[in-house]
């Protein structure tokens, strides 16, 4: 793997601020997160729902708009060197980068295609400004790309509602990869699909990534998908990154108690032991517990965990974890 990071995230902080009928609320959904993604790798981001995964990638992708606001830190792409985050870069610079270098496969991809436009129009809107060329050239490129993904070019004439869910997701992947971007963010792209289609789509992402040599930030709560697909893995809990390392290493030896819980809760063939379920529920982010945010549910929690935030420290080379227990060698 070539080492230069394509994305460097440092101390990134973002929060929601809402006010409704006098009840005002601040939710620190991204709390001091640091990590980086290298070229030509698939980086997985895991965590339960509402652990801040989507907010993190929105912040990285520069989609910061009220009630979400950026508090500090940076998320710098190598193809846009001088801007600390996309959000702070000039709109013209961002417009150039988008889709050409950075594309996105969204959660709930059922609804990401404009229901009132034909697929071909969406392709034109998204990719034509980047690819340029004559209409004929463009059409040929799109058709070729669809062929690469083994999609029938006739879908271009369809409206989204005329396609099945899986087909729509494949179209979205084709759309996200048409410009051969350097960096693809994929947010739960397979969640709503049934298992067979899911497998197919994952294979598609894998092959196109290999073919193009792009980097992928792949977000899902499904640890099995991570195991099958990603090169490296980050685990989020309550707005914080708690563990990060090579996927194989993390799976082989999960260090954070929460990661361990996630991995152990995966069903395994031939394993019918009763799995210990985690007590409690994810914290209310509007009023997070002090210290380590996981401590109310952590079997290893001690007094220190209740008071001080654990720092993200390298437990092994390339494998970082934020846990007092690991730091103290208790885990």
């Amino acid at each position: 793997m070539n080492g230069a990071p394509i994305l460097t995230v440092e101390n990134l902080k973002a929060r929601f601020r809402t006010k409704h009928f006098g009840v005002s609320r601040e939710v620190p959904a991204v709390d001091d997160i640091t990590f980086s993604i290298r070229r030509n790798e698939i980086f997985g981001l895991a965590g339960e729902s509402s652990s801040g995964k989507t907010t993190l990638i929105k912040t990285i992708a520069g989609l910061v708009r009220p009630p979400l606001e950026l508090v500090g830190g940076r998320a710098e792409f190598s193809f846009l060197p001088d801007a600390p985050t996309l959000h702070q870069a000039s709109p013209a610079a961002v417009a150039k980068v988008r889709w050409r270098h950075l594309s996105y496969i969204m959660q709930a991809s059922m609804n990401v295609l404009n229901p009132l436009r034909r697929i071909s129009a969406t392709f034109r809107d998204f990719a034509l400004p980047h690819l340029g060329g004559t209409a004929g050239d463009f059409e040929r490129k799109v058709t070729e790309h669809l062929a690469l993904l083994r999609l029938d070019p006739s879908i271009l004439d369809a409206y989204p509602h005329e396609l099945s869910g899986g087909m729509r997701q494949r179209v979205t992947i084709a759309l996200a990869t048409i410009c051969r971007p350097d960096f693809i963010i994929a947010d739960e792209p397979t969640t709503a699909l049934d298992v067979i289609v899911q497998k197919d789509v994952l294979g598609m992402i894998r092959s196109i990534q290999r073919e193009m040599g792009s980097s992928v930030l792949f977000v899902t709560h499904d640890m099995a998908v991570h195991a099958a697909l990603t090169d490296r893995l980050g685990v989020m809990y309550a707005g914080c990154l708690v563990e990060e390392g090579a996927t194989s290493a993390v799976f082989a030896r999960p260090r954070h108690p929460y990661t361990r819980h996630l991995i152990h809760s995966l069903p395994r063939i031939g394993d019918d032991r009763q799995r210990a379920s985690l007590a409690g529920s994810p914290p209310n982010l509007a009023d997070p517990p002090p210290g380590c945010r996981f401590h109310p549910r952590c079997p290893l929690a001690v007094q220190r965990c209740r008071q001080a935030r654990p720092a993200m420290l390298e437990a092994e080379p390339g494998h970082r974890v934020a846990c007092h227990a690991v730091e103290e060698g208790r885990s």
């Binding site: 992708a61 989609l63 961002v94 417009a95 150039k96 980068v97 988008r98 889709w99 050409r100 594309s103 996105y104 969204m106 709930a108 991809s109 609804n111 990401v112 295609l113 404009n114 229901p115 009132l116 436009r117 129009a121 809107d125 998204f126 400004p129 409206y159 509602h161 005329e162």
Partner: protein, 335 residues
């Protein structure tokens, strides 16, 4: 194509139902009255001169034929419908013996012009500004527009028309406040006449537009502020699609679909507004005709205008419904 046909048939069925219920309502109302239209007509006609008893008897006979009051209930009812279908409402009492249909035909283009122009302008302007206000929620002048719209939109047409008339007719007399065009101009496609019609239409149209814009503005603003958070818009933004294209093809256009339905639903209400606005400004359309017909006790004319407005409004709604799939391809499948 088949699904469109299916959709069109359904809309047509709804149109037929509206016309059926509306016109039956008119029939029931007019036939439930204790007033005998024939005696009323005779009284009206004879009130201007000494008329011989034989002449009255003769007139009664012909009027009874005209109003379809001969024969049994069923025969009367079918005569009524055949008259409606032939657009034949007999002679107008207040303009005897001119047929009601010719009076309506004369007034209808004025109303269609005024109503059509005002409706289209207010719909476009209201949606444009409302869409912008929903998209650029922090913009101050758009916020101010929102406050204005909120203050204007709930006010009834009459009050706005009266206020405009006082301001531009009396206090600051810039614009003509009565009539459809200046006097002694040849009606037709000549420039002085067209300019004159345009001038005379400003105030009536403005009173319809002021209220219309407000309601479309508020509707569009709330639609857009919801749509901008929808996935396909966010996705297009992430993709770096040209913001103007996003605003146009992703936000506005998608918000327009419910606004088109809204237009169909509020056409009747806008027509109500046109009636009163025309009366305030003495505009020679069907609204003025209707109110004057009531003042004059012109039974056939009142019934005729009511029927034609029911037909006209439902036709307008049908037209919008039939064009709706152009805006939203989904309806063909979902309905």
């Amino acid at each position: 194509m088949r699904s469109y046909l299916h959709y069109a048939l359904r809309r047509f069925a709804q149109f037929v139902l509206v016309v059926f219920i509306g016109i039956n309502l008119a029939y029931v109302i007019t036939h439930a009255t204790p007033i005998d239209p024939v005696e009323q007509s005779i009284a009206a006609v004879t009130s201007f001169g000494n008329t011989a008893p034989e002449a009255i008897a003769e007139m009664r006979r012909s009027l009874q034929e005209l109003y379809g009051l001969n024969g049994g209930w069923l025969e009367q009812y079918s005569t009524f419908w055949s008259r409606v279908l032939r657009a034949d409402f007999g002679p107008s009492l207040s303009a005897f013996p001119a047929p009601v249909s010719s009076l309506i035909a004369r007034a209808l283009p004025w109303t269609l012009g005024l109503l059509g122009f005002a409706t289209i302008v207010s719909w476009l302007l209201g949606n444009l500004l409302g869409g912008l206000a929903g998209y650029y929620q922090q913009n101050r002048s758009l916020k101010l527009l929102g406050v204005l719209a909120m203050a204007l939109h709930p006010v009834p047409y009459y009050i706005v028309a009266l206020a405009l008339m006082i301001v531009f007719g009396f206090i600051w007399p810039l614009l003509p406040i009565t009539g459809g065009s200046a006097m002694n101009l040849e009606q037709g496609w000549n420039l002085p006449f067209i300019i004159s019609v345009a001038k005379h239409s400003i105030l009536p149209a403005l009173s319809l537009i002021l209220i219309g814009v407000g309601s479309w503005f508020l509707g569009m603003r709330s639609l857009v502020s919801n749509i901008v958070t929808e996935d396909h818009v966010v996705y297009a933004e992430i993709a770096g699609v040209d913001p103007r294209r996003i605003l146009g093809s992703y936000v506005m256009r998608n918000a327009l679909a419910p606004q088109v339905t809204g237009l169909a639903m509020s056409l009747g209400g806008i027509f109500n507004g046109a009636v009163i606005t025309e009366k305030v400004f003495g505009y020679p359309g069907v609204g003025t005709l209707l109110v004057d017909a009531v003042y004059a006790g012109d039974y056939g004319l009142v019934l005729g205008v009511t029927t034609v407005s029911i037909l006209g409004v439902s036709l307008g709604v049908l037209l919008i419904d039939l064009l709706y799939p152009l805006i939203d391809p989904r309806v063909q499948v979902t309905t």
